[in-house]
């Protein structure tokens, strides 16, 4: 849906979809997959909207798709161009998305998605709305084929995109301060005549509610994507010298890899934590990804991804543990728990 939103002035500063994708792909590795799309509508207002959007962005639709490399690993990407009719998804964009996902599945590539969208292309009505089903189906098939699906939710992402491919990631990051919500605030205001409460539909708040794993500025995307893919792609990373069959270890393995002492099955004594290595690494508590802790292949997840969390004890300072993937505190500083 087109229209203004609080950060409309930031549009000039907003990265184009291509530029955004280039930040997490190895330089020069990007190859677009997009087939040209013709304007087929008979609605003159919609045709004019499309022509303006084309002129403005140099793209023919609101999504770009293709492949590239992350740290030398071939991946596929799909991304929204918000400057094209607010990144809205109609039949052409939906078809482009699905073809890219299907190709990623067929070629067994991890898929990286970067949505930024007001949702369904309102000019196309219910048929556009139904595109969300086929995109969700394609993503589901991709994951069922044992392939990773990473999502980086950008500002703003609302409506049908959030309610389909935006929320199905194995791991989900979001842009700092991004507006992320099911119902766009302007739509809410139009329907109910009042503003949606502030501070709710924002990346940091959703992370604290377990819906998003990390808030990441664009500058961190390449590095974090690489680390997460190292884990999710199941790269074999066996510490040198460990013989798993006998349970014995050679002298070289020692305690370096897993904090064990001595040979033989361990029945007592200190056990390594499930995220082994000293908590805290070199720069701070709890982050196995961006703070450069010794375990480079740990990808902490925040919450259930579905908004549930255990009851908290009353009146205790909380660690910024929810921001595990990035270590950044999403709120004013709190005392670390440990």
């Amino acid at each position: 849906m087109t229209g203004t939103h609080p950060r409309a002035g930031a549009d000039k500063a907003r990265k184009s979809a291509i530029d955004l994708v280039e930040t997490f792909l190895d330089p020069g590795s990007r190859r677009g997959w997009d087939q040209p799309v013709e304007i087929t509508t008979t609605d003159p207002d919609y045709r004019a909207d499309l022509e303006r959007a084309r002129e403005r962005t140099g793209l023919d639709e609101s999504v770009i798709t293709g492949e590239g490399c992350v740290e030398g690993r071939r991946v596929a990407y799909v991304a929204c161009e918000f400057r094209f009719l607010a990144g809205s998804i109609g039949v052409a964009a939906g078809e482009r998305l699905v073809r890219a996902v299907e190709r990623a599945t067929a070629e067994r590539l991890p898929l990286l998605a970067a949505p930024a969208s007001g949702g369904t292309r309102m000019q196309e009505g219910t048929v556009a709305f139904l595109q969300m089903v086929k995109v969700a189906a394609a993503i589901t098939d991709h994951k069922a084929a044992g392939l990773p699906y990473l999502v980086h939710v950008r500002h703003p992402t609302t409506g049908g995109v959030l309610a389909s491919w935006g929320s199905l990631g194995h791991v989900t990051a979001a842009e700092p301060g991004a507006l992320i919500g099911f119902m766009g605030p302007r739509v809410h205001e139009a329907l109910y005549g009042e503003e949606f409460p502030a501070g709710v539909q924002v990346a940091e708040n959703l992370m604290n509610h377990g819906l998003i794993d990390a808030v990441l500025p664009t500058s961190r995307l390449a590095e974090v994507a690489a680390r997460v893919l190292r884990v999710l792609c199941g790269d074999q990373d066996v510490p040198a010298g460990v013989d798993f069959r006998s349970g014995a270890e050679t002298a070289e393995a020692g305690s370096a890899a897993a904090g064990r002492g001595g040979a033989g099955p361990r029945r007592s004594g200190p056990r390594p934590r499930s995220r082994s290595g000293p908590r805290g690494g070199r720069t701070g508590p709890g982050c196995g990804i961006c703070c450069g802790s010794p375990r480079r292949n740990v990808s902490p997840l925040s919450g259930t991804g579905a908004g549930e969390h255990d009851p908290r004890a009353a009146a205790r300072p909380r660690a910024g543990r929810r921001g595990a993937l990035c270590g950044a505190r999403a709120q004013p500083a709190r005392a670390p728990r440990e």
Binding site: M1, D43, G90, T126, S167, G181, F182, L191
Partner: protein, 204 residues
């Protein structure tokens, strides 16, 4: 297994009916529980859509409403059991879409399906709610449009003040549809379901 939007704010007698109105994340998780049971026991699933839309509140957002809709779409489109959707009345937004992907879709004559209630779409496109009828016209939200677009397979006529008679006819039609789905080879049925959703909006 029947899943339906419960408009009355109290539990109906159907198993796993979605919570009161408006629909929130917990209601959708209830629906997904019903889907899981249908899948595990090989029971045909009937979903009934009649909703003015999802809950729009802090709790709904922080409870992951959008994600639950996404998971419903994923679960519905891949459900191994035979699935039939009845679009009974209002079909507004993601709360409606969440129960739509099925092997077959039957709509009541006066039912509609739209990304937003037509008043909302009118407000977005024209900055007034007054053009709701015009927007509904052009947006393809009504049962005849849905039939033409391949979103709905069959429309059941509703006469004036028919009430019981309509329900009787509807029950008969739903029974026949479910029987036909059960008789179909399941691999073929699942492939047809995927193909149906894949081609919506594409030139035929």
């Amino acid at each position: 297994m029947v899943l339906g939007h419960n408009r009355r704010g109290r539990r109906g007698s159907e198993r796993a009916s979605a919570e009161g109105q408006p629909l929130g994340p917990a209601g959708l998780r209830t629906a997904r529980r019903g889907m899981r049971i249908a899948a595990e026991l090989g029971l045909p699933l009937l979903t009934v859509i009649d909703t003015a839309g999802a809950a729009l509140s802090r709790e709904a957002e922080e409870g992951g409403l959008a994600g639950e809709i996404a998971r419903c779409l994923a679960d519905m489109v891949t459900l191994p059991a035979p699935t039939l959707c009845l679009l009974l009345g209002q079909g507004a937004g993601g709360a409606a879409l969440a129960l739509l992907p099925a092997d077959r879709v039957v709509a009541a004559r006066h039912a509609w399906l739209s990304p937003l209630p037509p008043e909302g779409a009118s407000a977005i496109l024209h900055r007034t709610t007054e053009r709701a009828y015009e927007v509904a016209d052009r947006q393809g939200v009504r049962s005849a449009d849905l039939l033409a677009d391949g979103i709905v397979d069959r429309v059941v006529e509703e006469g004036e003040g028919e009430g019981e008679e309509f329900l009787g006819r509807l029950g008969h039609i739903l029974g026949a549809e479910l029987a036909a789905l059960r008789a179909q080879d399941s691999e073929e049925r699942l492939a047809a379901r995927r193909a149906r959703h894949r081609r919506i909006g594409l030139p035929s």
